[in-house]
C-alpha cells in the first residue's frame, strides 16, 4: 500500500468511527436476505458456513478485518487488520459502498452497493449472525435488540449486595474491581439487567466460555442477582 493510501484508510476509518447508529434501526433483515444472494457466490453465512472464495461472515460484527481463522487474505486485508480496522455497522457500510476505498488492494471483486437503504438492509441481515447484545451485553453495540428469552421473574429478583460482595470475591481473582481490562473484561457498573442476562447466557451455555460456564453454572438465580446488585455499585 502506498503511504497515501494508507493514510486515507486510517482517515476514513477514523471518520466512520464517529457515526453511531441505533440498533433497532439498522434495516429490514428480510430484504437483506434477498440482497445477500449477490454475495453468496463467494461468502457463506449461517450455521454451516465455511470459508469459500471469501471468508465466512458469521460473527463479523466486532471482528478485526482479515482475522478469520484458516482464510488466506490478501496482503491488503492483513494490513488493514493490523492497522486496526474492525467491522462495525459503520465500517461495514462504507466497505460495502466502495470496497476498494476502504481496503485498497482487496481481492474482493465487488464494485459496491450504491443504495444506502440496500446496504442497511443487508447489514441488518448479517447482524443476525453475530453475537447479540440480547444475551451478550458487551458484544458489538450495533444492534441492541430489546428482546431476550430470560424469564422476567428472574430479572425481577432483587439481589442482596452484601451476599453479592462475598460471592464477588471469587470473580475478582480475574476481573479487577477498578475496571481495568488487561485481557479479561471489566464487569463493574453494568446495568443490573445486562449483568443478569449475560450470566444466565453463561449458565445455560447459550454463550460459551469454559471458565464462565463453570462459574455461572453453579450460581442460583438469587446469587446472580446478588452479584449484579453488588457490581452495579462499584465505580
Amino acid at each position: 500500500m502506498t503511504l497515501l493510501a494508507r493514510f486515507s484508510l486510517v482517515a476514513v476509518v477514523a471518520c466512520l468511527a464517529q457515526v453511531a447508529t441505533a440498533a433497532e434501526e439498522i434495516g429490514d433483515a428480510e430484504r437483506g436476505e434477498a440482497l445477500f444472494r449477490q454475495c453468496q457466490s463467494c461468502h457463506q453465512i449461517g450455521p454451516d458456513a465455511t470459508n469459500r472464495v471469501g471468508p465466512h461472515l458469521n460473527g463479523v460484527f466486532g471482528r478485526t478485518a482479515g482475522s478469520v481463522e484458516g482464510f488466506r487474505y490478501s496482503k491488503a486485508f492483513e494490513r488493514a487488520g493490523s492497522k486496526g480496522l474492525e467491522w462495525h455497522i459503520d465500517t461495514l457500510g462504507s466497505f460495502l459502498e466502495n470496497p476498494k476505498a476502504i481496503v485498497p488492494g482487496t481481492r474482493m471483486s465487488y464494485r459496491g452497493m450504491a443504495d444506502a437503504q440496500d446496504r442497511a438492509d443487508l447489514i441488518a441481515y448479517m447482524r443476525d449472525f453475530s453475537a447479540s447484545p440480547a444475551n451478550i451485553p458487551e458484544s458489538d453495540p450495533t444492534a441492541r435488540a430489546v428482546s431476550h428469552d430470560l424469564d422476567p421473574a428472574i430479572l425481577e429478583i432483587q439481589g442482596d449486595p452484601a451476599y453479592g460482595e462475598y460471592l464477588a470475591s471469587e470473580c475478582q481473582t480475574c476481573h479487577r474491581v477498578d475496571g481495568q481490562d488487561s485481557g479479561i473484561p471489566s464487569i463493574i457498573a453494568w446495568p443490573e439487567d445486562d449483568f443478569v442476562i449475560a450470566m444466565h447466557a453463561y449458565k445455560t451455555k447459550a454463550r460459551e466460555h469454559p471458565v464462565m460456564n463453570m462459574m455461572a453454572g453453579r450460581l442460583s438465580n438469587e446469587e446472580i442477582a446478588a452479584l449484579a446488585a453488588y457490581f452495579a455499585t462499584l465505580e
Binding site: C174, M214, N221, E222, A225
Partner: protein, 423 residues
C-alpha cells in the same frame, strides 16, 4: 436485606448462612481482635487484604513476610521464555500497609506457641494472635533427589520459589553452549502448580528454538502422567519437534542421581553431561507449619468448610501448605481459599455474616507464543474434603485464534490476581 419474597424463599444458600450463626468473640489478649498472617504470598497477602478491607479496622491484621518484594512464581516461566521481564513479576506490600492498614512486618516467623497464642519472630519479637493464618508455601523434602540438597541450588537451581532462583535459571539458560543439554528433574505428586514443570519445559524450548535451536531438553519424570499432558505433548510436537525427550518411570525417570560438582545426571544408570540442570525436588508444607505442629506427614490437614487446621481451630492453613482434598496447589487456589478463610475469621471475631464456602481454580499455561491453554474446576466442601464439582480443560486441535484468546485471558488473570492480593 432486600429480597423479595420469592427470592428469599428460593435461596438455600442464604438459609445455610443463617444457620451458621456467629459465635460470640472474646479477645484473648485484650483490645481489638488480632490476626497474624505468616507468609505474604498468594494465600497470605489475599487473606490479610480481605480481613483488613472487610472488617474496616475492627480487626488488627499483621502480615509477616521476610521479603520486601514478592516475586510471583506464576508467570516466572514466561520470564524464562522471554515474554516477561523480571520486574513484571515483582509486587510490593506498600498498598496493603497504606490503603488497608495491614501491619506489614518484614521478618521471619520461627515459632508458634499455640497455648499462649503467640508467634515468635527471628528478631526475637513475639506477637499475640486470636487467629493465626499460615500460608508459608512449600519447602523441599530432604534427600528426595539423590545427590541434591539446598546447598546445591546454585549449581542446580530449583527455581520453584519465586525470586533469585528464577533469575539464576534464566542466566544459566542464556549461557548454554550451542547445542547444549538442559535437564529437568521433575517432582513427584503432590507439588505446587501441576502444569508448572511442563510449562517451564515449553518456555525453555521456546527460548532455545529462538536462540539455540540445536539444544536438547531431557525431562526425568517419576510420574506416569502429568497435568494437561495431551496438550503439552501436542504443542511440543508442533512447535519443538525433536527437541524434548521425556523419560517416564517405565524407563527409569524416577531413578535419578545428580552430581552438582560434575554437572552430571544419572538416569537409571545412564550418565548425562548437562549444561543446565533444573532439579525440582519433592515438596512439603513450608517449615513453619511443622514447627507449629499442624502437619501430618508432609502437609497440614484442614477442615474443608473454613480452612481451619484439623489440629487447632484457631489456625487456618492456606495454599500449598494445606492438605484439603481435590484442589491443586496453585496461586489461584490459595487466593480462593484465602477469601473463604477471611470470611470465616471475620465471622468468628466480629460476628459478621458467614456464607457457605465456594472454591475455584483455573491454571493457564503458555506452550509457545500466543499458544495458551487452561484447565480449571469448581469445588465445594464436603464432610471429608474439598471436592471437585465440575471441571474443564482446553482441547487438543483448538484453532490459533482460541489459543491466542486463552493467552490474552491469562494476562488478564495475572493482572486480576495480583491486584486482588496486593490491592
Amino acid at each position: 436485606m432486600t429480597f423479595n419474597r420469592r427470592a428469599f424463599l428460593g435461596t438455600s444458600a442464604m438459609a445455610a448462612a443463617v444457620l451458621a450463626a456467629p459465635r460470640l468473640y472474646a479477645a484473648a489478649h485484650g483490645g481489638k481482635p488480632k490476626v497474624v498472617v505468616i507468609g505474604g504470598g498468594a494465600g497470605g497477602a489475599t487473606a490479610a487484604r480481605y480481613i483488613a478491607k472487610d472488617s474496616d479496622g475492627a480487626i488488627d491484621v499483621t502480615l509477616i513476610e521476610p521479603t520486601r518484594t514478592y516475586y510471583t512464581c506464576f508467570f516466572s516461566n514466561l520470564y524464562l521464555g522471554g515474554f516477561k521481564q523480571y520486574d513484571d513479576l515483582g509486587h510490593s506490600y506498600g498498598t496493603l500497609a497504606s490503603d488497608y492498614g495491614v501491619n506489614v512486618v518484614h521478618d521471619y516467623a520461627v515459632g508458634v506457641d499455640r497455648d499462649a497464642k503467640t508467634v515468635t519472630l527471628a528478631s526475637g519479637d513475639s506477637l499475640p494472635y486470636d487467629r493465626l493464618v499460615l500460608s508459608p508455601g512449600i519447602d523441599f523434602v530432604a534427600g528426595s533427589v539423590a545427590g541434591w540438597d539446598v546447598s546445591a541450588q546454585n549449581a542446580m537451581p530449583h527455581a520453584y520459589k519465586g525470586g533469585s532462583q528464577t533469575q539464576l535459571l534464566k542466566a544459566q539458560l542464556e549461557a548454554m553452549p550451542e547445542g547444549g543439554t538442559f535437564v529437568m528433574v521433575a517432582p513427584p505428586n503432590p507439588y505446587r502448580c501441576p502444569p508448572g514443570p511442563y510449562e517451564r519445559v515449553s518456555m525453555v524450548a521456546w527460548y532455545l528454538s529462538q536462540n539455540n535451536p540445536t539444544a536438547k531438553i531431557i525431562i526425568a519424570d517419576p510420574k506416569e502422567n502429568f497435568s494437561k499432558q495431551g496438550l503439552f505433548e501436542e504443542g511440543w510436537q508442533k512447535h519443538y519437534s525433536g527437541m524434548i525427550t521425556r523419560i517416564g518411570p517405565d524407563f527409569g525417570g524416577g531413578n535419578v542421581t545428580v552430581d552438582p560438582a560434575a554437572m552430571t545426571v544419572d538416569i537409571d544408570g545412564e550418565v548425562i553431561n548437562a549444561d543446565v540442570v533444573n532439579v525440582i525436588p519433592a515438596m512439603k508444607a513450608g517449615h513453619i507449619a511443622a514447627v507449629a505442629g499442624v502437619t501430618d506427614g508432609n502437609w497440614a490437614p484442614v477442615n474443608p468448610g473454613d480452612m481451619t487446621s484439623k489440629m487447632d481451630e484457631n489456625i487456618h492453613v492456606l495454599g500449598d501448605a494445606s492438605a484439603q482434598g481435590d484442589m491443586p496447589k496453585s496461586g489461584f487456589s490459595a487466593n480462593s481459599q484465602a477469601k473463604v478463610a477471611a470470611m470465616s475469621i471475620r465471622g468468628a471475631l466480629t460476628g459478621s455474616q458467614v456464607f457457605p464456602a465456594k472454591y475455584s481454580n483455573t491454571c493457564w499455561s503458555l506452550i509457545a507464543e500466543n499458544d495458551g491453554v487452561k484447565v480449571g474446576a469448581s469445588y465445594e466442601p464436603t464432610e471429608e474434603k474439598i471436592a471437585s464439582t465440575g471441571s474443564f480443560v482446553s482441547q487438543t486441535g483448538e484453532d490459533a485464534a482460541l489459543r491466542e484468546a486463552t493467552y490474552q485471558e491469562s494476562e488478564g488473570w495475572y493482572s486480576g490476581i495480583t491486584a486482588d492480593m496486593f490491592g
